[in-house]
């Protein structure tokens, strides 16, 4: 089991590192999707099927598309212009300092929290339990998130829908 975990960790971290090193933005985005897939693999390894499949649908299926569209739509020339120029010293120092800050905050948080010993039987949550929890105690949170996403969607449609008038010949 530990060997599988090591392999999953290697895929996750390796693809994330390769995504940072790669000069090609599209390659970086695809490697990022591979890293998210690794996260899903980790959830599967931990026995959380539902979280793993949701991770694949949301991140590998949808968020990766958003990333790719963002990369391609912000370039002048989608085919040739996705190469990033080599990093200058200023940029690499900025990246390193930000990374060090994040690492410091995270390690401080990990060090200061206590981990109770795991119970003997691994907790098994069926999809039904997850659904009942989401609809019962966390129903309000689910609703608020849903409303937020709907508002965002409507806003995007309003921004994008600037078609002046419909030509009757064009309609289905």
């Amino acid at each position: 089991m530990t060997a599988i975990l090591a392999f999953i960790a290697l895929v996750m971290l390796g693809s994330a590192a390769a995504a940072m090193i790669s000069r090609n933005l599209v390659h970086s985005a695809l490697l990022l999707a591979l890293s998210w897939l690794g996260t899903a693999g980790f959830y599967l390894w931990a026995g959380a099927d539902f979280a793993a499949f949701a991770q694949v649908i949301v991140y590998v299926g949808a968020v990766s598309m958003v990333v790719l569209f963002a990369v391609l739509l912000t370039r002048q020339n989608p085919v040739g212009d996705v190469l990033v120029e080599p990093a200058s010293r200023k940029r690499s120092t900025a990246a390193l300092s930000v990374g060090a800050c994040v690492a410091a905050v995270l390690s401080a948080a990990v060090m200061s929290s206590s981990f109770p010993p795991a119970s003997v039987a691994a907790p098994t949550a069926t999809v039904k339990q997850i659904g009942l929890e989401l609809m019962g105690p966390y129903g309000a949170a689910l609703l608020i998130v849903g409303v937020l996403l709907t508002v965002a969607l409507l806003g995007a449609i309003v921004l994008a829908a600037s078609e002046p008038e419909r030509n009757p010949e064009d309609a289905p």
């Binding site: 599209v26 390659h27 695809l30 999707a33 897939l37 899903a40 099927d49 539902f50 793993a52 499949f53 949701a54 694949v56 649908i57 590998v60 299926g61 949808a62 990766s64 598309m65 790719l68 391609l72 989608p78 085919v79 069926t126 999809v127 039904k128 009757p168 010949e169 064009d170 309609a171 289905p172």
Partner: protein, 400 residues
Amino acid sequence: MISATPESFLERLPLLVGDLIARVVPASLLWFVTSLIAIVAILAVFGLLFAFLTLAERKILGRIQNRPGPNRTGYFGLLQPFADGIKMIIKEDIVPRDADKVLHYLAPVVLVSLALMTFAVLPFGRHLVPVELDSAVLYFFAAGAATELAVFMAGWASHNKYSLLAAMRALAQLISYELPLLLSVVPVVMLAGTLSTTGIVAAQGGWKYGLIPHWYVLTPWGFAGFLIFFTAALAESNRSPFDLPEAESELIAGHLTEYSGFKYALFFMAEYFGMTALCGMGVTLYLGGWQAPCAFLEIIPSYLWFLAKLLTLLVLFMWIRGTLPRLRIDQLTRFAWKFLVPLALINLGTVAFWHLTLGWGGALQLARWALAIAFVVGPFVLMGRRLSAGVAPRTYRYAP
């Protein structure tokens, strides 16, 4: 479902084979051997089905267009798929000079492997489920969700602006139709109360008077849901009338432009696998899975019923391809967002009503049916009228 009559030998055949393997293979290797056998069986059965589907499609399309179709290779053209396969394998594989070699190679491979993974959770028969998962429906759509990434890889790696444009158009279509597809699955999950495919099939078991099955397609919301699912499945698997991603006659085959030889064949293999898997999912969700339509027909093994329903849906796909003309991209996305998505959302309300009125009996039962039918037909008619206002029915003017 436990039937009163003892199960026939053919019905128990998968179980017997499983027992036999368990006796021969040591226990420590059992999981490995059984998974391997399941994988080989899926590859063999659906590989052959793919081969003969291409032949059936060409034959059926030929008959629809008043020509015989392939009939020279082997008796009745039966060897045609294998001849096609050999042709595709020995064809030269051309990769453009500026292409992103790795992604260009990976795209068809990723597409086919993802399409094959979806077969793992379909319940092919009473005792014939490759993998039983608690969240099988979610797994099915998770495996399908990443196909968009493969289409993008194919379009971008070709280093051809037409390929890239076509891939973006294909992505717009796939993303648009994924929404009604998923929304049309939700009602079934709501009513069956489970995400497991075996559970959904079991929930549709039993017959009224031994004749009318309890399939979801025979309820008002189920009928609407099945139609939405079927339409969205047509679009998700790039089938006519939604075959814009490929559109060989108008849009130079889209993201497939720079592919040749076996890689090109792999794209079509993935398309057929995806189509078969989606049809299998439709059978599982709405058509009662492997359940027989009448009680006395249970003597026919369950996997044959599944196969019969699957083939019916596949032939329906081909029939539609031979009948309907292709949509334009704006009509396609408008149809998804302005018609299918609202209908699917309204259908969620209908199924909630259906679920809450489960206890109504007698005359109230009639009222329940009438109201549910009104909830389904009313929005369909109103929105259809509004969407086609001023343009339909269309008058065609021909040159004198």
